[in-house]
């Protein structure tokens, strides 16, 4: 997969993750039962557990911020530093999701389907972020005679001028 295709895939995934986090944030503040299997009971227990907040901040809000920041790094002009920022954010999100999943399964012994879906999205994002980061800058596009615009695979990267 090219860097550009990876970036587009990550944008789609982060948008879906943002949707999930937005929904969970909404139900947290609205105080309503989440749409969930088993009549919402398991999701409710997880969403209202002692682990649903970190230093007083609801976990869905942290997820919202995380997905938003990942999207920002995917839309700005790309370079190694920006790709590194995407990677760190995705890794942090993956690590936090892993911790929350551990608490769900082994401490609360309940499964919240929304939380699991967010964890899966973040895991895939982390994998794609690593792949994209290791790919590095895409290869410079050969300049065509009479054309000055970069091709669709340029991924927003500036064309590397050939040394003269």
């Amino acid at each position: 997969m090219s860097s550009s295709a990876l970036r587009k895939t990550m944008i789609v995934l982060a948008t879906i993750g943002l949707g999930v986090a937005s929904y969970l944030t909404y139900i947290h503040y609205a105080g309503i039962v989440p749409l969930c299997g088993k009549g919402g009971g398991s999701c409710l227990k997880v969403q209202t557990s002692v682990y649903s907040k970190i230093v007083g901040i609801p976990v869905p809000v942290l997820g919202l911020i995380g997905y938003f920041l990942i999207l920002v790094t995917l839309f700005v002009r790309q370079n190694d530093t920006v790709r590194l920022a995407t990677l760190i954010l995705a890794f942090s999100g993956f690590a936090f999701s892993a911790y929350l999943t551990y608490r769900e399964v082994f401490t609360l012994k309940e499964i919240c389907e929304w939380c699991v879906s967010s964890a899966i999205i973040m895991t895939i994002l982390a994998c794609l972020a690593v792949w994209r980061f290791l790919l590095g800058d895409p290869p410079p596009q050969p300049a065509l005679a009479g054309e000055g615009n970069p091709g669709p695979e340029a991924d927003g990267e500036p064309l590397t001028a050939l040394p003269g």
Partner: protein, 278 residues
Amino acid sequence: MSSAEQPKSTRKERREEAREARKSIEAQESQRQARRRRMMQLGAAGLVAVIVIAVAFIVSGSTKKQEAPKPTSHKGTQAAKLVSSEVSGIPQSGVVLGNPKAPVTLQYFGDLECPICRDFTTGALPSVIANFVRQGKVKIEYHSMETATREPQVFREQQAAMLAAARQNLGWNYLELFYNEQGEEDTGYVTPAYLKGLAAQIPGLNLAKWEAERSDPKLVEKVEADETKSGEEGFTGTPSFVLAKTGGNTRKLTEFTTADLAEARALFEPAIEAALKS
């Protein structure tokens, strides 16, 4: 072309070839260094992930521990007196408060750590007890339903502690004391010491017997059976209530979300009167 011009081209071509070779080597070295740098940055990102997990565990593990007031403390003495005055003279049988032959049964589904249950129990329930339970018209049956406690093991232990007191027909003293001395939500205040502190405040409770019985697996089974019943009733929050003429058709009361005495009276008293007349 004369033979004298040929060596110059050849030299130029050789210079070009040498330059291209040098650039190729430099490019390869540059790529190697970039790859090494990326691997180190990848390692650093992994380290950040590990730190995130460690911090999450540390932050979630730090909780305040709050002891129940000591029996001889002012707060403990006051709460125990209040509870005693509320329920003394009313028959208790297990988790049931009131005349066993009362014509109306009010089933109260609650979580001992639930702050709304606390508000109801300390604010509105006393009037129901005074006006109906003490008159022998209504009996209240307490059932466990986990909402606020959030840690299943803690929930089972605290509810079982109440059921152990109920075996000595002092369950309502225990649960009323718990609600009156409830700690701050999500602080992990319910510890074995806290539960024992509450038990020690109940006059007439055999503390050694309570301590021995509260780990009886049958009490945990009762807690789990209550949870199943709450699920069958379709309850999602506490406190929740079922009101019925004893042995008659049940009526679910709306989940109660206020301790306002007037609102409680407006909700419960007509419903109880209607059940009594039915």
